[in-house]
Amino acid sequence: MKNIFDIVQVAKPKTIPEYFQCSRKIRKAINREDTIQWPHVKIAILSSFTTNGMEEILTVKCCEQGIIPKLYLAPYNQYNQEILNPQSGLYAFEPDLVVVFIDTRSILDQRFQNPYEIDNEDRKTWADNAAKNLIMLVQQIKTRSSAKIIFHNLEVPLWSPMGILENKQNFGFFESIEYLNEKIRDEFKRDSQVFVFDYNAFCSRYGKQDLINYKLYYLADLKLNLEYLPWLADEYLAYIKPILSKTKKCIVLDLDNTLWGGIIGEDGLEGICLGPTPEGRSFMEFQSYLLALFNRGVILAINSKNNLDDALAVFRNHPHTILKEQHFAAIRINWDDKVSNMIDIARELNIGLDAIVFLDDDKLNREMIRAELPDVLVVEMPDDTTLYLKTLAELNDFNILQITEEDLSKGKMYAEQRQRDEFQKTVRDLSDYLKGLDMTVTIERATPFTIPRISQLTQKTNQFNLTTRRYLEEDIRRFSEDGNWLVLCVDVKDKFGDNGITGVMIAARDPAEWRIDSLLLSCRIIGRDVEKALLAFIIGEAKKSGAKKISGEFISTKKNAPAKNFFMNNGFSLKSKQGDTEIWEYNLSTTYKAPDYIRVITR
């Protein structure tokens, strides 16, 4: 009896019938085996035409990524009714993701062939109404479901009866579709629930020429060639992966013949291929794209068999290297095996192996990592190095649904952390290290700008977290607007860089007693006494308000041992203990000594 993973690994379907065959096998396996450990996702598809095949292909594509999908396909061309009727199958299904796929032919009907039966003025009225209707449909879904919504824009047609004069029309046929797409895009730019999928770009990419198989279109109203469905499923997966938190965070890179052509240890600094030659340019542009990913928050690391000094010389002295030492958060350049280097890198960065993408030109290295560390995504690098850039750019594994400023600079922060760790190795003890860091902690009340990040921290922080209470943005907003509550966030800077907002405290303020509801620090600033600076601040505030004591809870979890002794080490006394919950209390008549090596700024 095969499990699903084996089925998809062996099947590797290419033709549409092979996808169907593979999905039948998967369905049998889902029914009989325990797939509880795999993440499940419920996807509803609403479309304006026959979507036969989508279920089978999406099932295979999801299982290839270790995801079990459950699908709901709305009845043929019933998207309006499904959306508008609160009792419809769509809402009963309780989807995590809704795909709305309405195509240009469907909304234009015979006007797709004969667009100029109406004049330009009427076309403008039509376009405005169509935009309103489409947007209204999406708004309706939002009122009844919290599912993420993928909303297809419309494909701009290939032909116009006006021929070369099409673009001379005042609000012509093509322009009307482009106008609709613009309206839709603008409407949902700031909407965190709705994602406009650029279906027009998708069609261009794979060819509008063959978008329709006319026989299937006339026989069965299929408005998308079945051959395109696997590609479309890949596009949906770019959204599904982050919904299930299957986002890759880090790219681990080989060096020789990956970041440059040739072997640095043999060819030397002048001999490697990197720079304004045809081959050298392919590596420069590849590095450029890696830098672009770094700048949007992807962590970079090196895992290479080389002499450290030879390899570092490229980043330090090569005139055409785009990537520099400062871009890498972990560097393993040695003669150890790549598997243990990889494990080391994950440990050093405190990320899971399943958050890592590995790029290496060497087939053996790739196979070794694949065999030993199956959680790592090992990219099949092409033999043709000019295709490196394309291979990298086509990965859809780095997507996140919402980006905060901290996310954008994550690559930089991890790289700064490496410099910090190196500095720590040069000092005598911890207190020299803390003093030498030259830290500035900014304590600030929650604002509309910081609320998303504060919520994200309560959702993600496991280690230094006293109570592990998870809050949505709405919760944080409510606390921050309530005079009886105080929501603080902490930004930590030092001489190596800015860690951004990495700490949160939420407290309830009763006249006599303040209660710490939540106190957490992101793992990258644990062990730097930031919590003491924060506590000193809140003790000062509580005293000013006339309160007599501060209480706090410690709720023990599997992961929050780093926060276990916080109260004990900071002058609190234990009042009670029940199950996993301890209640501690601080008497405000005692003085608290804030760490003098942290500069505190309050706003």
Binding site: P17, F20, G53, Y218, L226
Partner: protein, 74 residues
């Protein structure tokens, strides 16, 4: 006609050996209208031929399809 047999077996989810002259849309539950369309368009690709809409609609069995292909390939 091995390729045709293979295609039929894959699309209709039956054993390769079971593809014989008795196989038709009437005798095979899996041979529904969508599978039929998928089958015919795969055959067009595989054998590099083109069917008319009428031919697609009228083909009802393995032997119908085989005859069609042989005609077109001549």
């Amino acid at each position: 006609m091995d390729e045709l047999k293979k295609l039929l077996a894959t699309v209709l989810n039956i054993d390769y050996e079971k593809v014989d002259d008795s196989l038709s849309r009437e005798t095979t539950e899996e041979w529904d209208s969508f599978n039929h369309l998928m089958l015919m368009s795969e055959i067009e690709k595989e054998f590099q031929i083109s069917f008319s809409l009428q031919e697609i609609e009228e083909a009802r069995s393995y032997s119908d399809i085989r005859t069609l292909i042989l005609d077109k390939k001549q």
